[in-house]
C-alpha cells in the first residue's frame, strides 16, 4: 500500500513600514512504505526551504513611509470619511452655524475644520458631542466606559 506524504514549508518575514510577506510551498508525494519517512521528510524539508528562501528574497512592492495615511480623498478633508460624516451629521442635526464651527476648530487647533487630522477630528467630535450631544454624555468623557476593564487605565495597584 502506498503511503501519502504531504509536506508544507512556509516562511513569513517582516518588511519596513510594518509590512510583512510570506510564501509557502506544498508537496504531496507517495512513498512505497514507511521505511524511509524520516529521510524523505528531511530531504523534502531541505528542498522546500531552499525554494522558499530563494523566492522570498524578492520583496516586490514595499510601502513607503506615510503609505495609506492620506485620509479621505473624496474631498479636501484630512480626517477619515467616517469622521467627516459624523461631524456633518452633528452639524446638520443641530443646525449649527458653519462660522461658529470654524471658529471652534480654529480655537482648538489653529486650523480650519477640513485641515484637522484624524487625531484632531476625534477631539473635535468629542467637543461637539459635549456641547450638542443632547444628554448622550454626562460631561465626563469616555471614563465610564473604562469600568469593568480592570486596572489598565485607572489604577495599577
Amino acid at each position: 500500500m502506498a503511503v501519502k506524504l504531504i509536506t508544507n514549508y512556509a516562511k513569513r518575514l517582516g518588511l519596513p513600514g510594518y509590512s510583512s510577506h510570506q510564501f509557502s510551498v506544498s508537496i504531496e508525494t507517495e512513498l512505497p512504505n514507511l521505511d524511509n519517512v524520516a529521510q524523505d521528510s528531511a530531504r523534502l524539508y531541505g528542498s522546500l526551504q531552499e525554494v522558499v528562501d530563494q523566492q522570498i528574497q524578492k520583496t516586490g512592492f514595499v510601502p513607503p513611509d506615510g503609505y495609506g495615511m492620506d485620509g479621505d480623498k473624496t474631498g479636501a478633508w484630512n480626517c477619515s470619511k467616517k469622521q467627516r460624516d459624523l461631524i456633518e451629521k452633528i452639524i446638520a442635526e443641530n443646525k449649527l452655524d458653519q462660522t461658529e464651527i470654524e471658529q471652534l476648530a480654529t480655537g482648538m487647533f489653529g486650523l480650519r475644520l477640513q485641515q484637522l487630522n484624524k487625531l484632531q477630528a476625534s477631539g473635535f467630535i468629542d467637543e461637539l458631542l459635549d456641547r450638542h450631544g443632547n444628554g448622550k454624555r454626562n460631561g465626563f468623557r469616555q471614563r465610564r466606559s473604562q469600568r469593568g476593564t480592570g486596572v489598565s487605565k485607572g489604577a495599577t495597584a
Binding site: 480626517c79 469622521q83 459624523l86 487630522n117 476625534s122 467630535i125 480592570g150 486596572v151 485607572g154
Partner: protein
Amino acid sequence: MIAVADPAAPSVAAEENQPRTIAELTQTVSASRLSTWQRCRLQFYFRYVSGIRKAPSPSLHIGTTVHTVLQQWNLARWHKRQLNIEALKGIFLQAWAIWQDGEQIEWNGKEQSVKSTAWNVLQHYLRNTPIPADEKPQAVEVGVEADLSAHGLPTLVGVIDLVRSGGRIVDFKTSARTPDAKMLAHTTETQTSTYGVLYREATGGKEKGIELHHLIKSKKPKLVVNEFGPVSEAQITRLFHVIEAYVNGLERDDFVPSPGLQCGSCEFFQECRAWR
C-alpha cells in the same frame, strides 16, 4: 486606514461586561485586552468571554475619579478656562459620587480615608505637574483606531489620556507603590507601543515620546514621571507578534490560568480556583 471610534456608539470597553464571542473579540483589540491576555488567559476569559461583572475595587475607583479630574483639568487648559483648586475639588467630589452610583464597592468602612488619599495625591500632582499651566494640549481623552487588516490583524483601538504639545503622549496612572523605572518600559510596552501605533495612524507623524505620570498614593503623596522616546520599529514588531498570538490563542480556546503574584489582586480568584 484610521478612523475615529464613534463616540455615539458603545465603546469596546463599555461592552466588556457581557458575554462575547471569540469572533467579536478578534475583530478589534485594545491594549487592555492584550495586557489582560498577556497577564493571564483565564482572567481574560472570565472578564471578556464570560463577561463576569465585578464591582470596582477601591483602587479602580480612585483611578477612575482621578482620571476624570485630570481630564477636566486638561480640557480647561485647552479652552483657556481657569479652573481653581475649589472648582477641581468640586469635580472630584462629583466624579467620586457618580462613578460609584449603583456599584457595591467594598470600602470596609474606609471610604473617607481612601477619598482623602485620592484628593491628596491629586492635589500633589496639580502642584508638581511638569505640564505648564498655559500649555495647550493636542488631544484629551481621545479615542482612536487603526485598521491593521493589511497585516492580517484586528483593528487596534484605544483611548489616549493626553497628547501634549509637540506630540508627547501622556498616560496617567495611580499606584500604591513607586514603579521600578527599569522594569516600567518592559511591563508597559504593550500599552505604550499601542499608543505609538495609534498616534502615527491618526496624525501621519511620529510621536515625540511617551510619558507615564504615576500618582503614588503613599502616606506622603508622590509624583513619578517616566519618559520614553518614540516607539521603535522593534517594539511595533513585538506588538504585532503579541496581537497575532492573541488572535491565535483565542481561536484555539487557550484559556489556561497563569498563577503568580498577580493573583493576589485578581477579582476572579474564586472562579479560577473552581476552574477545571
